[in-house]
Amino acid sequence: MGSTSAENAENNGTAGVGRRDLIKRSAALGLISVPTMSFLSACASGGGDDQEKAKSGEKTAKNPLGVNDSAGMEFVLFDGGFGKEYAEDAVKIYEKNFPKVKVKFSATQKIQSTLQPRFNQGNPPDLIDNSGAEQMDMGVLVGKNQLADLTELLDAPSYDDPNKKVRDTLRPGIVEMGQFDGDKVWILYYAYTVYGNWYSQKALDSLDAEYPKTWDEMLAVCAKAKKKGMAGWTYAGKYPYYIPFSMYPMIAKVGGAEVLDSIDNLEPNAWKHPAVKAVFEAYYELYKKGYILKGTPGLDHIQSQTAWAKGDALFLPNGSWVENESAKVIPADFQVTVSAPPGLDSSDKMPFGTIWASGGEPFVVPAKAKNGAGGMEQLRIMLSEASSKNFTSKVKSLTAYNGGTDGIELTPGLKAGVAALELAGDNVVNPRLQDWYVQLQKEKIGVAGLGEMMAGRLTPAEAIKKIQGFADEAAKDSSIKHYKHQ
């Protein structure tokens, strides 16, 4: 073996390096991967001192909030589906009105990673669009006194008409959505979303059918569609918390809005209300009769929207962003339409047209902002008719400003949304579970309750029992803050 010993030594050497590297790598990985939290913890011990606030300026008719005309203003926007152009346009107006000011504007998708440390250090920006996947928990921000009360802004004269308060120019529900407990308003939702059953008017016409107003009609339309090889429904099976977009307003229609309120308030047995049971059974019927597109429980939101746009399924519970989000796959002659959910029969408590609509894109002004008045003034500018129109025409969505659709060309889905809101009138419901109790709504009610029921793995009775259990748990959980409808 003598002749090969040198070679062996060499081999041994190379192998040794590989192993050593590997052990080093695994050790390093182990030490880094475990407490991924740690980097974050490091920030918490930072400062916490209030920064110096800008002096307030003189309050005039043109400047009702008393903005300091030379203090800087910082605005951080979530750079999502709505882009950043609308905000940049509004910033330009701010800079025109206060020529001495240069606004520090930035747009990011990483709201939480960029801003969480700044909240912890006590130097947040003056206006934030706290939205997207990295949204910071609003309940915690409010609970920890990190946000400024926007009442001053709401009571200020509106940008267009000095005789009208900002508050009176907003769509229904916007002000309430910004409240958590008590009268203070912490959040201003800028976009306005219409939820409901989305469908192609063209496909519905081709079935010789009208949009169903009762559940029996709904089942009849689905039966017709099935004969033509089209499924009645599909939904974001991987994120079943899309189902409530048309289910909750149906519960309100059948049993009255107070059923939803008691659900939001986490009252005992709120889910055992007969209206909830009736609506759950109605939806379960879709599964039992085979009206749900095959494979739906394994589809994510994009996949389900694509299947719907291809005409594989007729109805889709969704929000008004769907038209923009799936614009690339929706055929030109699709005629995107939204309608309020059908009811059960004439004993329903609310009329047909009862719909869920609420604010999106939550803007907040931090309590510790240097120039909070500036942040509010920026919002006041955005809530003017001109800025609102600019937003609607650029990103195909309504805003919190009530109106602002005259004289601009609306897309089919937007037009249908406006029509649905007109039909609804005052019958707009606004369930709050999804912003008050995120985990309960998405993971527990959505995935573990509704998702399982619509996949046929739970009966309606079992689903109700399970969801009531989750709600009771959340009501008892002292680690989450609890809210009540006012």
């Binding site: 695994s26 990985l29 991924t36 939290m37 918490a44 990295e134 494979g295 429980p297 996949q303 995120v438």
Partner: protein
Amino acid sequence: MQHGKYRFIVGFLAVPLGLYALFVVWPFIQSIYYSFTDWTGLSPDFKMVGFDNYSRMLDDDIFWKSLQHSVMFALLVPFVTLGLALFFAFMINVGGRRRKGGPAITGVRGSGFYKIVYFFPQVLSIAIVALLFAFAYNPDSGAINSLLRGVGLDGIQPLWLGDPNLALWCVMAVLVWSTVGFFVVLFSAGMASIPAELYEAALLDGASRFTTFFKVTLPLLWDTVQSGWVYMGILALGAESFAVVQIMTTGPGGPDYSTTVMVLYVYQKAFRDGQAAYATTIGVALLIVTLAFAAVVMRLGRRERLEY
């Protein structure tokens, strides 16, 4: 020579140890400290709450589910991955039939090609792999169900990620697929360093390929396998399992909590629910699980070192 020896050593070690203490040990201590507070992660004020987070964790069903899944990940994924990788590496390097004029010990035909193919997934980032498989598992138009339809199995159209009984297996399969290639290459390198005479001697004694593998290859490769096991287990407990579960699964973490893992739960508690202190508590539990895993593997795997 003795004079100043320690100063010399300390001089070299101070900087790395300092960095290690600052960026690894200190955050560890901080995390443990925060697990005794009610810190939200969204404001600088918090207070001590003693063992509240820990008692809450012990009553938390979702925590126990995630722990159970994480332990399954740590045990099954390395076992399957390393087993497959050993098999592939053996076939590529040693398992081939003897060809005329070639060396006595060789891999199967086309082994060079296989080596590259196996390594391929390693080039893709885990996020991309997870996305690819999320598409493949799409029950409506995904590759797997389309293939099943294509061969006439229309009746078998599982929901894959939508089925609580299958979802966890689907996720594990992706992890195995994406990591096996790395270990094939690693073990190949290890096998290449085993002297060919040992194999030749075994062949002369009439050993089958099966015996050769268990009596020659595996014992000589044991160190590599063992560190591979720790490495893989930590991957399966940590970053990789988070990525696949977060990107691929229902919810994520579902359906009905069937795929939730500890790292995902840490993330959700810290960044979705604003309960950073509770998240660090779960992080501490994860630390204990990881340390226990490494200790067990090291302990079980202890063997006499073979010199060759």
